[in-house]
């Protein structure tokens, strides 16, 4: 089967995990890793696996390799992404933004991917958003959600310095995603870091308050179950910890996300769900491109 060429910008944990996930893809062909640190573990592993590596940044890469990739994953920082987005736009390339820069539309694969298949730049919100917005949507598609609140608890070890120094970015971006993609009239997000050893798996709780009198218990339960299966199709370690609890107009959903353990350890379900979602989105982009050529 024909494959679409892709490249990863950023050779840290996320970029390296993406590299391993892309090796399983039937529609994407990873060609290059682009970074700024020649000594990083990511660059070393990429070389071992036969990928081209570039350690002078995206500008340098684009000067000489315009045909090496059609789709890019940006796993750097919000600040760097703003620059990368401009460069890639000028080249007519598609980019998936895994940083909190939020230049392009928010995308959650199981909710609104179809609307943005031709977008030049899409943003993957946050890990908490990828884990919980599908469930907000699952409730909202059967009973209108007035208010949704999510609590993401992640192991301290899986929260990098970027997340820690800008923790408001998580709460604000996730809240916005709950509203814009999840469909809740109002959204709220809370993040908790837990330092327990051995590290805990990512846990997310979703509270959704549906419109007064709109609750349909059976439909809500069914919709949530369906959504669990949909997310599992690209994040196998995603599951409900227990049956959803429905009291009056409130639905509470308990989720746990175990990572695939590609490059990142299994407890980093929060990072894994981002890389898994990115690959899923890129595969859909690729299918669209391949069909377009026929």
């Amino acid at each position: 089967m024909e494959k679409v060429k892709v490249a990863i910008i950023g050779t840290g944990n996320i970029g390296t995990d993406l590299m391993l996930k892309l090796e399983r893809s039937e529609t994407l062909q990873l060609t290059a890793l682009i970074g700024i640190d020649p000594d990083s573990d990511g660059v070393k592993r990429a070389k071992e696996r036969g990928y081209k590596t570039f350690t002078d940044g995206l500008e340098d890469f684009l000067k000489m390799n315009e045909s090496l990739a059609e789709i890019f994953f940006d796993a750097t920082s919000a600040k760097a992404h703003v620059r990368h987005a401009k460069l890639l736009k000028a080249e007519g390339k598609q980019v998936l933004d895994l940083t909190p820069a939020a230049r392009g539309p928010f995308v959650v694969p199981t909710v609104n991917l179809g609307e943005h298949l031709d977008a030049e730049n899409i943003n993957l919100i946050t890990c908490g958003g990828q884990a919980t917005i599908p469930m907000v949507h699952a409730v909202n598609r059967v009973c209108s959600v007035d208010y949704a609140e999510i609590v993401a608890t992640i192991s301290s070890k899986s929260a990098g310095p970027g997340t820690r120094a800008n923790i408001d970015e998580f709460t604000q971006t996730t809240s916005l995603g709950i509203e814009k993609v999840g469909g809740a009239k109002k959204g709220k997000a809370i993040i908790i870091l837990n330092p327990a050893e051995p590290p805990i798996l990512m846990r997310d709780t979703v509270y959704a308050l549906v419109e007064e009198g709109a609750m349909d218990e059976d439909k809500v339960r069914e919709s949530i179950k369906e959504m669990e299966a949909s997310v599992q199709s690209y994040v196998p370690g995603y599951h409900l910890r227990t049956e959803p609890i429905i009291e009056g107009n409130r639905v509470t959903v308990f989720i746990e996300v175990e990572g695939a353990g590609d490059y990142l350890p299994k407890y980093s379900g929060n990072l894994d769900i981002m890389t898994a979602a990115a690959v899923k989105v890129a595969e859909e982009f690729a299918k669209k491109k391949l069909n377009g050529h026929q």
Binding site: E149, R164, A165, N166, I167, I190, N194, T205, T252, F254
Partner: protein
């Protein structure tokens, strides 16, 4: 007439006490308590949702009254006292802090779990920029070894905290543990050291006195122990004890006793006491704010609330993880069903 205070008291009943009454403070209550505290010359009054700014939620309980309205009310009746707010990064945001500063809050207390101080620099910096006095609040201090606590306290100092608190959120610290913590911090830090106790093991007063002995000068109390779990160090009693020790707090003891009796006591549905659940929290090292949540879950699943709390302690659950209570309760209920079947 006011000589300088040896010990500076922050009254937390209007914030920590919010847990004990399910976040149901009214504007009238907060106004009356703040006014009386101001008249008794209490220097700092903390007002916020129990879990800090932005805490009103499904996870922690929704506030009856918008906390910004409560802060405004406290500010409006405080002639000498400064109003403080609590903020937990990950729950409250810089936007909330700006709003609180705009309406007159003068002190920001930025709280993190004892090992996670590095989520606080943004908020401490902003508070500084807004001209607020800043406090770093290291919660669940019993869960980290002394060296780790000191390292985290130094981080908060480096971000610009004017004071760093040892916060015994679970009321689990024993006096000698408070002693070694405050002593080590006093040796390594140049900023003020504070102590915030909970009375789950009936040690809040003893721990507070040990903290003062070792050099803590900023102390939290709650009038009538109106705080999470079994409540905090009882402010009016502390004032009396410190006076007997010759330490000046600048606070009027008689006025505090009157306020406790006439204004705060009627707010409490029942007096704060150490009952089995709060005792177990201190014993197992569980976040005091979990008390009412665990009692509700115990009822819902028809199990013993102590079993839930002990299990939460074993799993090293931290502050803010209220959603784990239902999770653990449902697991225990399932297990018990199997055993009884």
């Amino acid at each position: 007439m006011t000589k300088s205070r040896d010990i500076t008291i922050t009254e937390v009943a209007l914030r920590d006490g919010s847990h004990a009454i399910g976040h149901q403070y009214t504007l009238e209550q907060v106004t009356a308590v703040s006014k009386a505290l101001d008249e008794a010359n209490v220097p700092y009054i903390e007002v916020s949702h129990g879990d800090g700014l932005g805490g009103s939620s499904q996870q922690f309980g929704t506030s009856l009254t918008d906390e910004m309205k409560l802060i405004e009310a406290a500010v409006s009746v405080s002639k000498q006292a400064k109003v403080a707010v609590l903020l937990l990064p990950g729950v409250g945001t810089m936007k909330d802090l700006r709003q609180a500063a705009d309406i007159g809050a003068k002190m920001a207390r930025v709280a993190t779990h004892v090992t996670e101080a590095d989520v606080s620099p943004q908020h401490i910096n902003l508070a500084k920029e807004l001209g607020m006095e800043t406090v770093g609040f290291l919660m669940m201090s019993h869960m980290a070894p002394v060296a780790k606590l000191v390292e985290q306290a130094k981080l908060m100092e480096s971000y610009g905290a004017d004071t760093v608190y040892v916060v015994d959120s679970a009321g689990a610290l024993l006096p000698y543990e408070v002693r070694e913590r405050i002593r080590a911090m006093r040796q390594e830090l140049t900023v003020n050291i504070g102590f915030h106790g909970h009375n789950n093991l009936s040690l809040a007063m003893a721990n507070t006195l040990v903290a003062i002995e070792e050099g803590a000068t900023r102390i939290d109390g709650s009038i009538r122990c109106l705080g999470a779990g079994a409540g905090n160090t009882q402010t009016e009693v502390l004032i009396a004890v410190l006076e007997r020790m010759g330490l000046n707090t600048g606070v009027d003891l008689y006025k505090m006793m009157d306020l406790a009796e006439n204004i705060v006591a009627p707010i409490l549905k029942k007096p704060q006491e150490i009952a089995k659940d709060s005792l177990v929290m201190g014993y197992a090292g569980v976040y005091s704010s979990f008390l009412l949540h665990a009692q509700r879950a115990a009822k819902q699943f028809d199990i013993d609330s102590r079993d839930i709390l002990i299990e939460l302690g074993k799993r090293k659950v931290v502050g803010g993880q209220e959603d784990m209570i239902i999770d653990v309760a449902s697991e225990i209920a399932k297990r018990q069903k199997i055993v009884n079947a």
